[in-house]
């Protein structure tokens, strides 16, 4: 599936390994949160990068203690209308200080891309056949925001600023 990063289709170095299938040791893989819970000891001493995939009902707190083990956290959107991932990403960044990749997977539409970026996501797994222009456009079509974004450290200023993303 196409990976969207910085408004463009990018290379995906990661692959998701479904539960029950053997986990390769020589390349970056994403496993489910459930597998991580059940088999965490088996990943001791692993050198290749590891990512974890959270269902939308699994909130940031559930993985907080283990975040240093993961280079990537994938947050699932079962339906694009299920907006829990926006809070989970923000919690991962702001509350738990996570600095690795946060990826949106599942059902996400380009119209949400700006919100994803502003809440701390770094990449999106888009459906096959997606229109790359819509993703690129999503970062630039609205240039004004009224709240602090994740990377803003300044106070609310006049509640409003020109966005720098895109």
């Amino acid at each position: 599936m196409p990976l969207i990063e910085n408004g463009r289709i990018g290379e995906d170095a990661w692959s998701f390994i479904p539960d029950g299938e053997p986990v390769p040791n020589d390349r970056p893989v994403i496993i489910s949160f459930e597998r991580w819970q059940a088999e965490r000891d088996s990943f001791e001493g692993r050198n290749a990068r590891l990512g974890v995939r959270l269902k939308s009902g699994t909130l940031a707190g559930a993985i907080a203690a283990d975040l240093d083990r993961f280079s990537l956290v994938a947050l699932e959107f079962p339906k694009f209308r299920d907006g829990r991932g926006f809070s989970t990403a923000r919690e991962l960044r702001e509350r738990y200080g996570y600095t690795g990749e946060i990826r949106a997977v599942g059902h996400v539409i380009p119209d949400q891309y700006l919100f994803l970026v502003r809440t701390g996501f770094t990449s999106v797994e888009a459906p096959e056949g997606t229109n790359p222009d819509s993703w690129a456009n999503a970062l630039t079509e609205v240039t004004i925001a009224f709240q602090p974004s994740l990377d803003d450290t300044a106070p609310l200023s006049l509640l409003r600023r020109k966005l720098k993303v895109g």
């Binding site: 299920d82 829990r84 926006f86 809070s87 919100f115 809440t119 079509e141 925001a145 006049l158 509640l159």
Partner: protein, 563 residues
Amino acid sequence: MNHIAPGARAGIYHYDEIDRQFVAERVEQFRKQVERRLSGELTEEEFKPVRLMNGLYLQLHAYMVRIAVPYGVMSATQLRKLAEIGRKYDRGYGHFTTRQNLQYNWIKLEDTPAILHELAEVDMHALQTSGNCVRNVTTDPFVGAAKDEVVDGRVYAEILRQWTTMHPEFTYLPRKFKIAISGAESDRAAVRIHDVGLLARRNDKGEAGFSFYVGGGLGRSPFVGKLVREWVAEEDFVAYLEAILRVYNQYGRRDNIYKARIKILVHELGLEKFTQEVEEEFARLRGPKYRLDPEIVEGVRQHFAPPPLEELPDHSEALERAKASDPAFANWLEVNVAEHKAPGYAIATVSLKPAGGIPGDATCDQMDLVADLAERHSFGELRVTHVQNLVLAHVKKDELYDLWKRLDAAGLGSANAGLIGDIIACPGLDYCALANARAIPLAQAISARFADPVRQRTIGELGIKISGCINACGHHHVGAIGILGVDKKGTEYYQITVGGDPTLTTEIGDILGPAVTETEAVDAIEAIVDVYLANRTGEGERFIDTLRRVGHAPFKERIYAAD
């Protein structure tokens, strides 16, 4: 685009170039979204929330577009534009809603980009008037003018308008989210039936702060908002709301649309646990990033500087003369005019509830007239109330008679604010795809039955609220008399509740007995009124107080005796 500047003295938030650019970008964004839907890139399921977030609904017979009137305050220029749009794209009228907005019920989809473009000319839009986001924040329609005002709610409503606009984290909430602010001693904003209700207050030092009520709401499961925190300082205003919304976004139910509002979360978690979650989040969020800087508050406040009121004696000889010579005007004065904080001025409610009329509807000619009158008498601004009337907030007492004569000549002079003729009704089955029964014809029949202004005044304060289905857009749960339309095997029936109260002493009404037909409903209302009049002590006892004192029995007996 040619921007038409609103009157400089109107107490509205005046857009600057950045605000305008934002709205223009959103109009363009929506145009592209429509194209992507038409090309099939967006599915209907994906397009729906996008369309709703831009105020566009599909009703029974046509599209409806709902225009945002932030906290119900607008300029005469804006109202005139709404009239123009109604003439051009609708059927010559518009409908004011309980969210203090305006909606057009007969819109063609292909006209919507043009409508949005025209709205942008007067700094208006339809953003976030629908969808699972934070909706238009409402406040007291007497804001900035009421004698009992402690804090100007517009300032904080505007801060929230900005903060909730395209909020990246809270635009795909479990369900819609409604906030109301009241900054006066009397609650005219029904704060405790909102997802978040805010009472703005002042402490001993004169500093502004807020009591937060959370989890109120009507619909299928009505709840009265619970006090989550007595005092949130102004600087924590945004942080505390951010904390509430984050808890809701994470824990609110998404498995069942009827259980997705925050009221259900508060109910299921319990107040203590919910409060604990919010407080934890708040403790962490609190800090420079979310601190509401007093300079920002001051900057916003300047938009709402008081109009240049003259120093006048409180007593108006002209008013007294008019009152003595014209009993109909004297009646309107008693019923529809409230005290202003400045001597010599008054607050006038323009009733959109003529006898036999459709609550909240105004023709485009009437809108033009009110715009003219707002310019002539009230510094070019007006307000929409959540009971679907309009308000001119700064009228000289000397000019009230002139104002009323012009209103009355246009069918806008009804003296029934807060009385039995001041009915709230949702659009019901005449328009709405969700409704089980019509609400409008019943409202018309009741207001025709009680058309006599003297009789209305004799009855006194009595709110009737009608919803065409359990979603309760007509607020029937908090009507002193509430009416809920239900469908019984294809026939419209109406269930009557009594004892609802939308003010700070919020009460959800109780069902009086089995549902009745439309004709029976009008008779039943009259019977309730008769029982009340027969039982009340003196002139002063309100319906709601008589009901509390004598209970349901005498009312039930009269209505259902024949069964």
